[in-house]
Each structure stands twice: as C-alpha cells, then as structure tokens.
C-alpha cells in the first residue's frame, strides 16, 4: 500500500512546477506513455505468443493438434509428448553427442583462446593488431563455403563422422569470440599486478597460470559457456560432417521429425523446448557478461 503511494507521489509532483510548456509537456508525456504501451503490447505479443504456442502444443493431445481452427487453449493437458521423447533411444544418442561435443569444444576453445587473448591484451609486439583483426574477421566467413573443403579435408584424414571433426569445425566460430571476450577480461587486470609478480621473479608462464588465470576465472567460465551454447546450437557442420550416430541434437531433430508424412507436432515442440533449456540456463548464468559478449560476436542476432 505505502509502496504504491510512494511510487505515485513523484509522478504527480513533477507535473506541478510552473513552466512555460507545461501543458504541452504533459500531453507529450501521456503520448509517450501510450505509445510505449502500444509498442510493448504489439511487439511483446509478437515475442511471446509463439513461445506460448510452443509450450501449448507440446502439452496438447495428439488428436487435438490436427484440427482446424486450432484450439488456443487445449481442453486437456497431457505429458504424452514428453513421455514419447523419453522412450526414443535415438534422441538420447543425439543428446549425448551434443553434450560431449559442446563440452569438449568449450574447454578446447577456452584453453587455446586464453593464451591468445592474454598475448593480445598484455603484450605489445609487431603484427599484434593485424593478428587481432585477422581473428575477428575469421568468424565472418560463411560456414557453407568453408564446408566445401572442410568436408574433403576431414574425409581425407578419415575424420568424417567423428567427434574430432565436429569439435575442430566448431572452433571456427568459438575461437574468435572467446579470444576477443577474454582479451576484454585480461584488459581489466591491472598491469601493476603482473609487474609486481615479475619483480618477485615469477616466470612469464608462472604469472599466467598462477596469477592471471585465477583472476580471470569468471571470464573463462563466461567464454566457455558462450562457446558451449554456440556449439550446442550449431546445425550446418553437424548436419554435414557427421552421420546419424555422431550427430548432435539440431540435425538429429530434423532427421527424426521433418519430412515424415505427418509431423508429430506435440513431440517436436516438446523436443524443441528440451533442446532450448540448456541455452536458457546458460544465458541466465551469463546475464552479467551479455553486453560484452554481444559486441564480441558471441551471440549472433
């Protein structure tokens, strides 16, 4: 009660001070508020109604899904679709592949990028800027084009349909983002700290491993999570470089559900929700680092 009153109080006082344009400003403010609400309702509806539909369909009995017009609110709720997923061993195979490949990609990317990011952040040498922008630009090349020869290369080394091929190809997009994110983190570590350790006689490698990395631990975790998510979401590399037994969930779901005579929509929507869940959890954990990661290209728009 009191909280509500207090919140209203400043709003009424701001309109009282005498000013030449008071009347116009007041109607102006109302127009702003009204258009803000319109924007929130219209765009918010666009944002959230599909999410509702995803959830609602996954809980609708299969018999009700195939009717037109569709029921906006299912008359009964069922978890049959989720049960059907749990009974499908192929999906667990895809899930295992997704977890293995995404985790290894994240760990490898963070280790390699940590050294590179540190070199970019704390040393000044010839060619540093060119290397930095080469790394930045390397994520701008289309995957479809790289695949033309990546496929042949992995084939020549007998790596098609292996986790190795997936992990290596995923680093094409995780490495640049991790390097730039981690460089940003290392930039915030004061040079004096490193200088002090140097004066104390610590070797350069020792400084990296015992001083810089522990300080940058939150950054390492954040970069790793971003890499995990990007690997988890990848479609084109996993679709092309791996067969059904090594494929990750995105192409796995396409193989399982799309192209059949009548798609099992409740199951597909349920699977979609389950696949999205780890990403959502990772992002909630990453909130603090979002804007930094955004500009480093961690999260594509």
């Amino acid at each position: 009660m009191t909280a509500v009153l207090e919140q209203h109080a400043p709003a009424t006082t701001t309109t009282t001070p005498p000013a030449p344009h008071r009347r116009r400003l007041r109607s102006d403010r109302r127009a702003v508020k009204v258009s803000a609400w319109i924007a929130i309702v219209v765009f918010g509806g666009f944002a959230l109604l599909p999410v509702y539909w995803l959830l609602a369909t996954s809980l609708t009995p299969r018999t009700q899904v195939f009717s037109y017009p569709p029921r906006l609110f299912p008359s009964e709720i069922t978890f049959d679709a989720y049960a059907a997923l749990a009974a499908n061993p192929a999906l667990f195979g895809y899930l295992r592949n997704s977890i293995v490949v995404s985790v290894i990609t994240a760990v490898l990317s963070v280790i390699v990028s940590a050294y590179m990011g540190y070199a970019f952040s704390k040393f000044r040498y010839r060619g540093r800027r060119s290397l930095m922008y080469f790394v930045l630009a390397s994520q701008m090349f289309p995957q479809a084009l790289l695949l033309i020869t990546l496929y042949a290369v992995f084939s020549a080394y007998g790596l098609l349909n292996t986790y190795t091929a997936l992990v290596l190809s995923f680093t094409t997009f995780t490495l640049p983002l991790c390097v730039w994110m981690l460089k940003g983190f290392f930039d915030t570590i004061p040079d004096e700290l490193i200088e002090a350790a140097r004066v104390d006689g610590a070797s350069r490698l020792r400084i990296i491993h015992s001083i810089v990395m522990p300080l940058a631990a939150p950054g390492l975790v954040a970069a790793g999570l971003f890499a995990f998510v990007r690997g988890w979401n990848d479609f084109i590399f996993a679709l092309t470089l791996a067969g059904p037994d090594k494929q990750t969930l995105p192409p796995g779901l396409v193989n399982t559900f799309i192209g059949e005579a009548s798609t099992a929509w409740p199951e597909l929507m349920a699977a979609s929700l389950v696949v999205s869940l780890p990403v959502a959890i990772a992002f909630i954990a990453l909130q603090r680092y979002l804007v930094g990661g955004l500009t480093a290209g961690a999260v594509k728009g």
Binding site: A47, Y68, T149, V199, V275, S276, T295
Partner: protein, 306 residues
Amino acid sequence: MTEAISSSQKTTGAKPRRLSDGMFAFLLTVPGLALLLAVVVYPLITALVTAFFRQSLVTPGREFVGLQNIVDVLQGDFFRLLGQTLVFTLGTTIAPFVIGFGLALALSTKIRGTKVLRGVMLIPWLIPGVVVSFLWMWIFNANYGVMNALLEGVGLIDRPQAWLAHPTTAMIAVIVAKTWQSFPWMMVMLLAGLQTVPHELHEAAEIDGAGTVRRFFSITVPQMRGIIGLVLLLEFIWNFQHFDIIYVLTGGGPAGATQTFATAVYETAFTGFDLGHAGAIGLLWMILLLGLVVVYVRFSERGEKR
C-alpha cells in the same frame, strides 16, 4: 630493461630469459593461429580455388576450366540469388531494428515492470535456430497452422493459406522467423546504447520546448550513431550468410524462391555434388562479403584505440 637486470641478478637456478617478450607473446598465439589457419584460412582458400575447376564431391580428380564456372553462374542463377539474398538480408536487418528500437525506447520509459519485461523479451533469442524453424513451420502450417486461424479471425484472409508453398509468402515467412529470433539482440544492444545518451541533453532540450519526437531525432539518434551503425552492420553481415532457418523452414523453396547464397552454395555442393559451381557462387559471394568485413574491422578499430 628492468627485465634484463632482474634476470641477470637471479643466477641461482633461474633460467636466463632467452625469449623476448614479443616472441613469447607470439608463441602464446601459435595454437590458436594454427587452428584458425587449418579450419578457416586453408578451407576458405581451397574452396575459392575450386571455382576454377570442374570437380565433384564424390569422384576424385579435377579438371581446370578457367572462368567457365563463374561465367555459368553469372549467366545462370547469380542475379536471382543476389536479389533474394538482399531481400532476406534487408528484411531481417530492418525489421528487427525497428522492433528492437521500439521496444528499447518503450522499456526505457518510466513504466513499472520494465525490468521483468526486458528479461522476458529475450526468450526468442535463447532458442536455437533449428527450433525457431520448427516453431514457425508449425505456426505457418497450411492445414492446422495458428497463423491462418489468427488472420482469418481478424478478417485479413478469407481462407487458409499455404504460406510456405508460394514464393512471396515463403520469403515473408523466413523473414518473420529470423526477425523473431534476432530482435531481442537489437533490443539489448540499443538499450545499452540508450544508457550512454547524457540525460542533461534531454533535460535542456525539454526546457527549450523540444517535443519527444524532436528530441528523439535531434538528440537520441545522433548520440547513438555509433551503436546504431554497429548493430545494423553486424546484423547485415550475419544475415547475408544465414543458413539454418531458411534451410529448415523452406529448404530454399518453393522452386528456389527463398534460396540465398548460403543455401545455394550448400545445395550445389552437397546435393548436386558440384564443387566447381559451388565454389564459383562462393567466390562471388565472398567478394561482396569481404567489402562488408573490411568496413566492420575498420569500425571495430575505431572503438578499440589502444
């Protein structure tokens, strides 16, 4: 200097430093560089080189054909692909920008609950591209789709449409699906940008009698020039090579109407097994893309003056 002194003084057990700092730093970057050379630079160059050969994905050997593949592509699909890629890219850059900016402005007003809304609006962006395609495939479904029911309900269409089966509506569908996935990113970036606009400017202009619209175009937009340019450029580059949503939602169809450079290169190489022509499309595509990447790197350099 200091380093040389300290290392010469510590003679007991400590190894003298033979590597210069520059060399040491370069060595730190070697694993990463090696990886990028192996999985980006080498494939990219060899992919572009295939443009000059007749080469198949499945049979070994190749034959030099000069510019033949490029001529074929230019006389064939190229300009249709370019047009479709531009329609998709512009649509999926402008629509999320408008929605994202609208929401960013609305959510930076003094309306209660904006903090929660900011979080909730991010949901579409947390959903993997493949799932975005599944969801919109279901929404646009010709027989049971909720889009038909919705538009019929408000009287915009008089009977259900097969959205994904007609060239124009299929293109609209992929743009809508991609827009839905990317507007939250625009919103977050532009919200961050709005925070950087000094509040005093707005207050001063308000005292001078400038209305909201006037202040938006004379203060907000000029102050946010940098971030607006960055988000439009990045979104354009990403969408110019977007693959997942188009490939799953329409497969480039109907009759190639939603085919872009990305899906065309992929189909030519992995369905048609024709690496030469795929490389030729890729080469022309890269030339266009390279211009954009150069602009982006310049842009980033300006932000990173160190």
